[in-house]
Symmetry: C2
Subunit: 335 residues, 2 copies
C-alpha cells in the first residue's frame, strides 16, 4: 500500500516553522522573510514534499482541475481541441480531466458533467457540437463556470466557436472565384452545429452569387460516407466543384472520383475543411479551411478562468475566424 508522503507539518517541523508559514511560501504570500522562505524551500526539496491537492480542494472549494466533456476524441477536430486545451490549461496551472461520452445525448452529457462536478472541478468546457447537448446544459447548476465550444449559438451559454459559416463561405467563394458555375456540398451530420454552420455558409455564398444551391449530399464525417457521395457526384457530368464539410469526407470523394476516372482538379475541384496534417498529401493536395484550434482553446480557457475568478456567468461569446489554405485540388472548370 502506498506510503503516504510527507505533509505540510513535516516540512514545517524540519524548517522550524509553523505549517501555516509553509502554506504561505507555497502560495507566494508576500509577508514571509526571505530567509524563512529559503529554509522552507530547502525543507520541501529535502523531503520531496508535494502539496495535497485534495486537501486544498476541500478547503478552498475548488480544485485546479478543469473538466472537459467531449464526444469522440478520436476525430481530428476534437482531439486537437483537447490537446490545445490541455496545453493552455497546463500553462495556467490547471489539470484537465476528460469525460468523453459515447453519445452526445442529454443523459450522457449530464452524467459526464455530474462526474466532473463530484470531483469539484473548477470549471467545465463542453465540446458540444450537437443539438442535444444544449438541452443537457440548461439544467445544470447555475454556479458552475462553464464554456461551450462549437455549441448552440442560440442558447444563453458562454460560447467559443469557430466561424463555420465564414469558413464555408470562403471555401465556396474560392470555388466560385475559380470560375465554377455552382458548388456542390457534402455535409456532415445535421445535428452537429459545425455541420449546419458550414451548410449555411455554403448556401449563403451561392445565394450571394445568385446561384440556386444544388441538392445537399448528406454525409457523417467519415471517409466512407464521402466515398458514397463521391460515387454519385462522379456520375453527374454537370458537377465541377465540391465543397465537403471535412477533409475525411473529401478523401472519400477524391477516391470515388478517381475510381470513376474523374480527375481532380482537372474535371472536378474539391475543397475540404479542417486541414488535417495529411491533407497536403492527398491525391491531389487538398485545398481546405483551417480552424485555429489553439486560438479556440486559448479563448475558451480565458473565458472560463474569468468566470472562475469573478464568479459571474454571463453570456459571453467569441468567434474565431478560420483561414483558407489553397492547394492543388482547385482549378478553373474546363470548357
Amino acid at each position: 500500500m502506498a506510503v503516504h508522503g510527507p505533509a505540510m507539518t513535516d516540512v514545517a517541523r524540519l524548517a522550524g516553522v509553523s505549517h501555516q508559514t509553509v502554506s504561505r511560501v507555497l502560495n507566494g504570500h508576500p509577508n514571509v522573510r526571505e530567509q524563512t522562505r529559503l529554509r522552507v524551500r530547502a525543507a520541501i526539496a529535502e523531503l520531496g514534499y508535494r502539496p495535497n491537492g485534495a486537501a486544498r480542494a476541500l478547503v478552498t472549494g475548488r480544485s485546479q482541475v478543469i473538466g472537459v466533456v467531449a464526444q469522440n476524441t478520436t476525430l481530428y477536430g476534437p482531439a486537437s481541441m483537447l490537446a490545445a486545451l490541455e496545453q493552455t490549461a497546463a500553462e495556467e496551472g490547471f489539470a484537465v480531466s476528460v469525460g468523453s461520452v459515447r453519445n452526445l445525448d442529454h443523459r450522457s452529457i449530464s452524467a459526464a458533467v455530474e462526474r466532473h462536478l463530484s470531483h469539484r472541478v473548477a470549471g467545465i468546457v463542453v465540446i458540444a457540437p450537437v443539438e442535444s447537448a444544449g438541452e443537457a446544459l440548461e439544467h445544470l447548476p447555475q454556479d458552475v463556470p462553464l464554456v461551450t465550444v462549437d455549441g448552440d449559438p442560440s442558447r444563453p451559454v458562454p460560447l467559443v466557436t469557430v466561424d463555420q459559416v465564414a469558413g464555408a463561405r470562403a471555401a465556396t467563394q474560392h470555388l466560385l472565384d475559380a470560375g465554377h458555375r455552382t458548388v456542390w456540398h457534402v455535409s456532415g451530420p445535421f445535428d452537429w452545429f459545425d455541420s449546419v454552420g458550414r451548410i449555411d455558409g455554403w448556401r449563403e455564398a451561392l445565394l450571394a452569387a445568385g446561384v440556386d444551391p444544388p441538392p445537399l449530399m448528406p454525409g457523417d464525417w467519415s471517409a466512407a460516407s464521402g466515398y458514397r457521395c463521391g460515387q454519385m457526384l462522379a456520375r453527374m457530368p454537370e458537377v465541377t466543384a465540391v465543397f465537403t464539410s471535412n477533409d475525411h469526407l473529401a478523401l472519400g470523394v477524391l477516391r470515388a472520383l478517381h475510381e470513376f476516372g474523374r480527375r481532380v482538379p482537372h474535371d472536378i475541384s474539391v475543397v475540404g475543411f479542417d486541414d488535417v496534417p495529411e491533407a497536403a498529401y492527398f491525391i491531389p493536395p487538398l485545398t481546405t479551411v483551417r480552424p485555429d484550434f489553439d486560438a479556440v482553446a486559448r479563448a475558451s480557457l480565458q473565458m472560463l478562468l474569468a468566470q472562475i475568478e469573478t464568479g459571474t456567468g454571463g453570456a459571453m461569446r467569441q468567434t474565431i475566424a478560420p483561414a483558407l489554405v489553397a492547394r492543388e485540388s482547385v482549378a478553373p472548370p474546363r470548357s
Copy 2:
C-alpha cells in the same frame, strides 16, 4: 461565487439519520436497514446531493482519478489509446486526467507526473513510446501504481504493449508471400519503441526468408516525410514492395509514387500500420496492420487497478497482438 452544494450532513438531517449512515448508503455498506437506505436515497435525490470527491480523496488517501501522461494526443495512435482508456476507466468509476507533454524528455515527463501526483491520482498510465521516457520513470516514488504503454521493454516497469515486432513481421511476410523478392521500409523516428519494434520485425521477416534487408528509409510519422521517402523509392525501379511504419507515411509514399507514375499495387505494393479510419479510402485502399487499442487500454487499466488494490508493484507485462488488414494496395510483383 459558487454557492456550495449540500453536504452529507444536510442529507443526514433531512433523512433524520447521522451523516455516517449516509456515508454507508453511499458506499454500499451492507448493514443498513432497507427502509433507512430508501429514506437516505430520497433525501439525496431531493437535495441534488453530490459527494465531494476531494473530501473523500483526502480521507482515503486516493482519488478516483487516473492520470495519463502522453505526448502528442493529436496523433491517431495516442488519441485512440487515450479515448479507449477513458472509456474503460469510466466503466470502473474512474476519471481520467490528461497530462500531455510537448516533449517526451526526462524533465517534461517528470513534471507531468508530479502534477498528477499532487492531485493524488490513484495511478498513472504513461503512454511513453520513447527512449527518454524510461529514465524519467526510474526516479519515480516507488509507491505509485504505474503502467507504461508501448514503453521500454528492457525496464522493470509494468508494461502493456502492442506487439510491434509481430505486426511488422506479418506486414513484411504478407508482401513476401505475395511474391516480392524483398521489402523496403519507411520507418518512424528511432527514439520511438514502436518504430524500433517495427524495424526489428521487418528485418526479422526478411532474414528469416533469407533476404538481405535493403537500406532503411527513415521518416518521422508524418505524411510529409513519407512523401520525401516515396520520391526516392519511386525513382528506384527495383523497388516493388514497401512497408511503412504508419498509415500517414504510407499516404505520403502513395502520393509520391502517384506523381512519378508508379501505380499501386500494379508496380509497387504498399503496407501501412495503424489502420486509421481513412486508410480504407486511400488511393488505393491501404493494406495495413491494426493494433487493438481497446485491448491495450483494457489490459493497462486492469493492471493498474490490480496494483491499486493490492499495492504490489511487480514487473508485469502484457503484449497485444495486432492484426493484418488486407486491402488493395498489395499485389504480386509484375515481372
